[in-house]
């Protein structure tokens, strides 16, 4: 349980940091880049977390990649479809 708390603390830290960096700039291209990097960290974090708990499978890697892809696709949809960036 203690280890879980540590991993979640680390995940929240990555996400909050990503949010704060993106929110600090009005530049949408910079925001998109920050979200992309945060998403890649998220996939990496998922793989490491499951690997340490000895339940990492290819399906889990795909799941984290798809979730990150969904988040990225929504942001792309708004930036390109909405703002024409």
């Amino acid at each position: 349980m203690k280890r879980h708390v540590f991993y979640y603390f680390f995940l929240v830290l990555i996400l909050v940091l990503g949010f704060l960096i993106a929110a600090a700039s009005p530049d949408k291209q910079f925001q998109a880049m920050t979200i992309t990097i945060t998403s890649l960290f998220y996939i990496l974090w998922g793989i490491v977390h499951h690997h340490i708990h000895h339940d990492l499978t290819a399906k889990i890697v795909v799941e984290y990649t798809l979730m990150a892809g969904l988040g990225g696709a929504v942001i792309f949809f708004i930036l390109k479809g909405g703002f024409n960036l």
């Binding site: 979640y8 949010f19 889990i60 798809l66 988040g71 708004i78 390109k80 909405g82 703002f83 024409n84």
Partner: protein, 279 residues
């Protein structure tokens, strides 16, 4: 139909104890649809600008009304619209689009005061506030009021006249609605006596003509769809987690909590991306 939705949102024996919406193929389908939707929106914007595009409810009249309301609450005199300041604001907005900059001074060194002087306004005091990406006039004024420097500018007793420009165009690669506010006074202000608004001013046409506005605002549309999709996934992940915890089913899948946290970040980012900015 009932079974279809049950399958989609609740984990049970028939969907392998994982809500169908969280199956890889369904998530992939959403990603493909979002990318297709992006190109569809871009196509409609390019070919049918009267249907889909950047649109906002920001108007000169409302900006003046909300600004004067804030000034009166603060005990300052109302500002009156000035044609020359309107022209200065309009020229500044055009220059920002033409030279593609988001700053008070242009890359070629033009200050706001150059636009005011060129419009023929002989100022003793002058100020400028900028905003972009807002959907209504109240949000613009509220954002300026929330920033100490802009608030000071808006409520300053040194000014008795104002000009606005509301223009849409492409700035720094994004379609946006730009608002320029030019404040001024041609004589030395009497700080203790609030200035009186001159009601005899000619009404100034709103630069963003309503007839040129598209039927649907692309930013609001894409933002609402994005919020809807992310919220749906957060909801289904939460339901999936609760049901599986109750049934004590063992599965080899990713942790729902991880995905909820990540998608919550995306939800927050949508609001950050879609917010207006001031300068």
């Amino acid at each position: 139909m009932k079974n279809f939705f049950h399958d989609l949102f609740f984990p049970h024996f028939h969907n392998n104890f994982r809500s169908k919406l969280l199956h890889h193929r369904v998530i992939l389908l959403f990603i493909v649809l979002l990318f297709s939707g992006t190109f569809f929106l871009s196509f409609v914007k390019a070919n049918f600008p009267q249907v889909l595009g950047i649109s906002s409810d920001v108007t000169t009249e409302q900006l003046l009304s909300f600004t004067n309301q804030k000034r009166q609450e603060d005990g300052a005199g109302a500002l009156s619209l000035n044609d020359k300041l309107n022209k200065a604001a309009s020229d500044k907005a055009q220059d920002m689009f033409a030279e593609n900059y988001w700053a008070h001074n242009s890359p070629t060194g033009k200050t706001p005061w150059v636009f005011i002087k060129n419009a023929g306004y002989q100022y003793v005091y002058a100020g400028e506030n900028l905003a972009r990406g807002f959907t209504d006039s109240k949000s613009v004024v509220d954002a300026w009021m929330a920033s100490p420097e802009h608030r000071e500018n808006m409520l300053s007793r040194n000014y008795n006249e104002v000009g606005f420009a509301v223009k849409n165009g492409t700035l720094l690669g994004e379609d946006t609605v730009l608002v320029v506010e030019m404040l001024g006074n041609t004589s030395f202000a009497q700080n203790s006596i609030p200035s009186v608004a001159r009601s005899a001013q000619e009404p100034v046409p709103v630069v963003l003509n309503s007839s040129n506005r598209p039927l649907i605002d692309s930013v609001s549309l894409s933002r609402n769809i994005g919020v809807g999709i992310i919220s749906l996934f957060i909801l289904v992940l939460s339901v999936d987690f609760i049901v599986i915890e109750r049934k004590k089913v063992t599965r080899f899948v990713g942790h729902n909590l991880d995905h909820v946290l990540f998608l919550s970040l995306i939800l927050l980012m949508i609001f950050i991306i879609a917010r207006g900015v001031i300068l």
